[in-house]
Symmetry: C2
Subunit: 157 residues, 2 copies
DNA sequence: ACTACACTGTAAGGCACTTTACAGTAAATA
DNA sequence: TATTTACTGTAAAGTGCCTTACAGTGTAGT
């Protein structure tokens, strides 16, 4: 496992920024650009990233509670509560109290959201077409495999 | 990994979340976990992500202006100004006015920052050791290649 | 039943970043 | 030179998320 000192040339940069740093920066840059491009392309619908991600998860699993959403979205419960507040103002979702647990809200999509999702789907597909240009299926499987192992590695305490 | 509704066959999820969605989510998850782990591990030094990233860039290129830093860090100039304000309060950097352009500040590391950087280096290396477990050099080169092409793809307007 | 503990969502305040508008300075052009 | 245009950094207000603390509700142990 190289790094630590894979400085290829001279100068402070070589001492401080390793190949692994650069790889991680690259990963961050790709994901950041993806987020920004998609954020921009859904701006026309007046949605923030958290809002459209919330809608996508609720489409997959109707009736999720705020705590469940927080875990899936990797946000705090308070943040999800705020997002749901706004989505409710926009008439995109509604809170329904659960029958058997009066502590929780179950969140459901409203018709306006169901109409919106295919449009978000189209925006995402357009971005992906750009992203995946000249990339074959095998390469994507390798990418998925590497990232999956990294994810697992980072999980291990 | 299973959750609620990892229904793999039918159901809304199959219609809405594609393989590419999942790959993008995976990329985001790996980078998010990396950021969080490193944020936590440098918390002991009282630095935020933007602060340590700023120090790293200044180490590589002393005397950068705030606009240059903003471009490299992908932040707005105002945000960089605020970060520099705090780093200056911490005596980690100082603003020096440029000789030939009285509009700009050139930012330089102070001794305290230079002492700090090797410690950050050690923290990063520890995280990378976890991240790269069981990953060989070839695989990393493929990863780098794929991501570099994706980055270029996203650049093309 | 009573008690202690755990869980869900909310309120309040803080932080990092953004957006917008602006003053000061430099560079380009008439 | 005078005027316009472009660039650098700052100020103020807004946004989204977080942390902390809390009230309400469920659950387990006695």
């Amino acid at each position: 496992m190289m790094m630590q000192s894979d400085q290829t040339a001279a100068g402070p940069a070589a001492k401080f920024l390793t190949e692994t740093d650069q790889l991680v920066f690259l990963m961050e840059e790709v994901t950041r650009r993806l987020r920004r491009i998609f954020d921009t392309s859904v701006e026309q619908f007046g949605l923030t990233r958290t809002q459209w991600r919330t809608l996508a998860y609720l489409y997959r699993t109707p009736g999720m509670t705020q705590t469940e959403l927080a875990r899936e979205l990797e946000l705090e419960r308070a943040s999800v509560g705020q997002a749901i507040d706004r989505l409710e103002e926009l008439s995109l979702v509604e809170r329904r109290s659960a029958l058997n647990d009066r502590r929780v809200w179950q969140i459901h999509l409203m018709p306006a959201a169901v109409e919106l999702l295919p449009k978000l789907r189209a925006e995402a597909d357009a971005v992906y077409t750009r992203l995946l240009a000249e990339t074959d299926k095998l390469e994507l499987e390798q990418l998925r495999g590497t990232l999956t192992r990294m994810q697992a590695n980072l999980d291990r305490i």
